[in-house]
Symmetry: C2
């Protein structure tokens, strides 16, 4: 880890096999527009990686080459499960988090941060399908799209990374800078349908979505329970 | 161009140097979640490309290898200018558009579609900073975030590609399928600030944004005027 320049912001995201690309690319759009900022895509080695739907992403630095980061972003996706016991990843997150001004998780990236021990006693959110797992990591679950608690910013599912990154951008710089980025991105969304959350979607649609995620949901629960024991957390 | 399978949907996006990655990755998140669908990233050759902020994207097929597409997506970004007279690109767009069920432009991708002659007499939108240029391509400018006119779907700036893609996904399949994707993406946005459009942002912020885009704005205007002459369009 080399020391960061005094004026330049260094923001880094972990990129991994079976990541959900939008957990990364939404925040990238925001953070890469900050003045005097370098955005690092970080993984164990610098070779192309496929997201869970096949988009090819290429890391820019290995963990060992990464500078000290002002903000560490941890995205989610189906590949999150494989990282939950990966000490190379969890150790990197812990080391960066110790010095970073902010850590930020998007979607099931919260579970990875939880496994690294970052969420103990911290208010946090995650994708609706994984929200019940936050307690296994000692987090205080909050039913919100974006939660800022101390130095950790968590965003709920996938697209919420945009909202979370704009909030974090304002924290890193100032509100005017974040507003200017929002204007460039023409972020005045008009979702075509009601029902972007389980609370607002028709019940049968939520049930269909749950059936679709049951397999990974079962695995995630078993993993969360095992990690709670490792962390010495009683989820009551 | 090989012929597409009867049941499988083929969706393809043009990816090019200095693309704005989110014009592509927002719609990718939606379209890649459609059942029985292959998403192609298309360019002249299959080698990594940098987006306008440095994100490395890798095409999956050359133009020549692309199947006949059900939907062709044309993103924008600073690199749009270099494509406006590029007959390899414009010819590919025209050839695919002739057979596709839909064409879709995001942000200044509308200008590229315009240069290919796709927007003659077509209602369309684009990024707010380029909206005044639509008339040079014979388009009927509409002040809306998403415009569907016949087989062309246009989305305004950057993040509007998500809204546009959800609309297009419903057209390609059905509303329920698009709603399910919206729920998975937890797309119930909460922009942290007012002012995602020039109409809602403070005047001084809009002016600051315009100063920042003036250089490319001047080049885009000169190009649009030149192309209007080539297309035989009188923008009055």
């Amino acid at each position: 880890m080399t020391s960061a320049s005094k004026t330049r912001l260094h923001i880094g995201a972990i990129v991994f096999p079976e990541i959900d690309q939008m957990d990364l690319t939404g925040p990238f759009e925001v953070f890469s527009a900050l003045p005097d900022t370098t955005f690092h895509l970080l993984w164990k080695e610098i070779s192309p990686i496929r997201d869970m739907k096949g988009l090819i992403l290429t890391p820019t630095s290995t963990f060992g080459q990464a500078p000290r980061l002002d903000l560490l972003l941890v995205p989610g996706g189906w590949g999150q499960e494989a990282l939950m016991d990966d000490e190379a990843v969890l150790g990197f997150i812990r080391a960066q988090a110790a010095d970073a001004r902010y850590t930020m998780s998007v979607c099931t990236g919260s579970l990875i941060c939880g496994a690294a021990g970052l969420l103990r006693g911290v208010k946090a959110t995650t994708h609706w399908s994984a929200h019940h797992l936050l307690k296994y990591f000692g987090a205080i679950p909050v039913d919100a799209r974006v939660v800022v608690d101390g130095k950790h910013v968590s965003a709920a599912g996938v697209t919420s990374g945009i909202d979370g990154a704009l909030r974090a951008a304002a924290l890193l710089t100032d509100e005017r800078t974040a507003q200017l980025i929002q204007l460039f991105m023409e972020y005045a969304p008009e979702p075509p349908f009601e029902g972007g959350t389980p609370q607002t979607a028709p019940a049968e649609l939520v049930e269909a979505a749950r059936v679709f995620t049951r397999h990974i949901g079962d695995a995630r629960l078993a993993t969360a329970q095992r990690i709670a024991i490792r962390l010495g957390i009683n989820p009551n």
